[in-house]
């Protein structure tokens, strides 16, 4: 039998729920509720319309990524990483693959064309992920049109990535040492057309939603997250940048070909309210979509000139038959649409199965701040705050 002290936390929590005040009420939000963006359950202790405490319950989508990854070899883990943040599969596998390549010591030998294709598909996927964030955020607040527009434009990206990888959402396209295939013939032209089509659309979306008075009333000055609290809670990505910190791992670590590309890092400015409020978090995502479009244009330019298609080019040339990693520990981090995605590897000798792989999901850390942000707000504002965090439960629960 376990020592009782190991159960103390649970007993304390049960006690709190059972002994709430006579004016308080416990409300369950989720796990089957569209505004929680998946199977997240928030237990709210409320006093009238005010939320006194938020107790998140996770694990409804726990698929044991860590346990799977330490029982199969590195190559077989890539499809599992796709299913962490299933809205940005390319970015996930890119981070995982980069870590393994660095442990193998082949990260400097990867052909430039492969690296540019990786950056291209990752940025396309970043746009797709942010479009979901913006669209569903609109629908949380009550704006229906942006949702339809975002999904319409996202579908173009999904179709292009399906053309390249053969799958609509879960790609398994980026492999250790290379790619599954080169881009299909005509991809660059079609992507160029998409960029031409998409640029006015994002301006249109921005005009429709960002300055909408109803939207501003629901988001400005709501859920203000000061920079020090954001850092202390391990928030990263748009969440941290909206609080005014210029922290983007594509620039800080300069991995892949990002040092050769020109782009800005948008940060929150508190334009319509306080710095770090829900509106800032939304706006940072819109600006990041614009920056991603800039990166895509540069990648396409390089892919059509310096590193153009060649019949002899083999994107699988460096793909190892067996991943022989020496015993070592390595923590790799990369900028996902949602923040810092990290993988910690503990490799062991004479086998291609790692001893331990731990995925550090950005949504997991970004979500942990919800009990801090949700203290003393209205229930309707909690929906706005949760939407602005932009979580994917596949990554929270892993």
């Amino acid at each position: 039998m376990l020592d009782t002290k190991y159960n103390e936390g649970y007993v304390k929590y049960k006690d709190k729920i059972e002994h709430i005040g006579s004016t308080e009420m416990v409300i369950n939000m989720g796990p089957q509720h569209p505004s929680t963006h998946g199977v997240l359950r928030l237990e709210l202790i409320t006093d009238g319309e005010l939320v006194k405490e938020v107790i998140p319950h996770l694990g409804y989508l726990h698929r044991c990524f860590d346990k799977h990854a330490e029982s199969i070899n590195y190559t077989k883990s890539i499809p599992f990483t796709d299913r962490l943040d299933y809205l940005a599969s390319m970015n996930n596998s890119h981070a995982f693959v980069m870590g393994v390549e660095r442990m193998l010591g082949i990260d400097q030998k990867i052909p430039k064309r492969v690296e540019y294709i990786r950056a291209l598909v990752c940025e396309l996927n970043r746009i797709a992920s942010h479009l979901i964030a913006i669209g569903t955020y609109g629908i949380d607040i009550g704006a229906f049109t942006p949702f339809m527009w975002c999904f319409r434009d996202r579908e173009h990206i999904m179709n292009m990535l399906e053309w390249a990888s053969g799958s609509r959402m879960l790609y398994n396209y980026i492999w250790i040492g290379g790619l599954y295939y080169d881009l299909p013939v005509g991809f660059e032209e079609r992507c160029k057309e998409f960029v031409q089509y998409f640029k006015p659309k994002i301006t249109e979306l921005d005009d429709l939603l960002s300055t909408n008075q109803i939207f501003i009333s629901r988001t400005a000055n709501i859920g203000v997250l000061p920079a020090d609290v954001a850092i202390n809670y391990g928030c990263s990505g748009p969440m941290l940048r909206a609080s005014g910190i210029k922290w983007d791992l594509r620039r800080v670590d300069g991995y892949s070909v990002y040092p050769e590309l020109e782009f800005d890092i948008p940060v929150g400015k508190g334009e319509v309210g306080t710095l770090g409020d829900c509106w800032d978090r939304y706006k940072v995502r819109v600006d990041e979509v614009r920056e991603s479009v800039r990166i895509i244009e540069q990648c396409l330019e390089r892919l059509r000139t310096d590193f153009k298609r060649d019949v002899d080019f083999d994107p699988r040339a460096l793909v190892p038959k067996k991943v022989n990693v020496k015993a070592q520990n390595y923590y790799v981090r990369a900028e996902n649409p949602k923040g810092e995605l990290g993988f910690y590897f503990e490799a062991q000798d004479k086998t291609d199965i790692p001893r331990r792989v731990k995925a550090r999901g950005p949504s997991f850390n970004n979500l942990s701040v919800i009990s801090e942000l949700g203290k003393g707000v209205l229930i309707s504002d909690l929906i706005a705050i949760l939407g602005s965090v932009d979580i994917v439960l596949g990554e929270v629960d892993r």
């Binding site: 039998m1 376990l2 020592d3 002290k5 190991y6 103390e8 936390g9 649970y10 304390k12 929590y13 996770l58 694990g59 726990h62 044991c64 860590d66 346990k67 660095r102 442990m103 850092i231 202390n232 809670y233 391990g234 910190i245 922290w247 800080v252 070592q328 520990n329 390595y330 923590y331 981090r333 810092e340 990290g342 910690y344 503990e346 001893r355 331990r356 731990k358 550090r360 997991f364 850390n365 942990s368 801090e372 629960d397 892993r398």
Partner: protein
């Protein structure tokens, strides 16, 4: 940088605070004595020339068949753009009655709260001084710690066969 940092930790917290270090791999790491962990972490966070204000990740590792566990902390400094790996090694006989114990750093970085709950949930590491230590990903009535290498799958859960 790492040698200088180790020396400074030794000077401040005594020779015994640093158990060992490993600078052979891609990322050097420092092994800290569990008793000094909280003091060293608070010092690293507030030191004006290190300022490790961002705790990226906490990982618990099981070294089966050896009788030991490790907890790995990945820190980052946002103003200095540096990374640091801290390790705490715990020898333990794998009994389920008495779990390995490590001091909690949740009072230093609030993000450690959930990471430590996850390590407790899946690996069975008990973090002393944690404000709210209960299972996070698995159900509250789950038995055992599935990420341990010697974990045996149960036959059923609430009458549902799961094998």
């Amino acid at each position: 940088m790492i040698e200088k940092l180790i020396q400074e930790i030794k000077d401040t917290f005594g020779e015994a605070s640093v158990v060992g270090s490993d600078s052979s791999g891609l990322q050097p790491s420092i092994s800290i004595d569990a008793a000094d962990l909280r003091a060293v972490c608070a010092w690293l966070r507030d030191h004006p020339s290190y300022y490790f204000d961002f705790l990226a990740n906490i990982t618990a590792v099981d070294y089966y068949p050896e009788d030991r566990f490790a907890v790995v902390y990945h820190l980052a400094s946002i103003p200095f753009q540096q990374q640091l790996t801290l390790r705490v090694e715990i020898a333990h006989d794998r009994s389920l009655e008495h779990l390995p114990e490590v001091p909690s750093v949740a009072s230093i970085w609030r993000t450690a709260d959930w990471h430590e709950r996850e390590a407790f949930d899946l690996m069975g590491i008990f973090f002393t001084g944690h404000p709210d230590l209960r299972r996070i990903l698995l159900p509250d009535d789950w038995k055992g710690f599935p990420l341990r290498k010697d974990y045996q799958d149960p036959e059923e859960y609430h009458g549902i066969p799961i094998k």
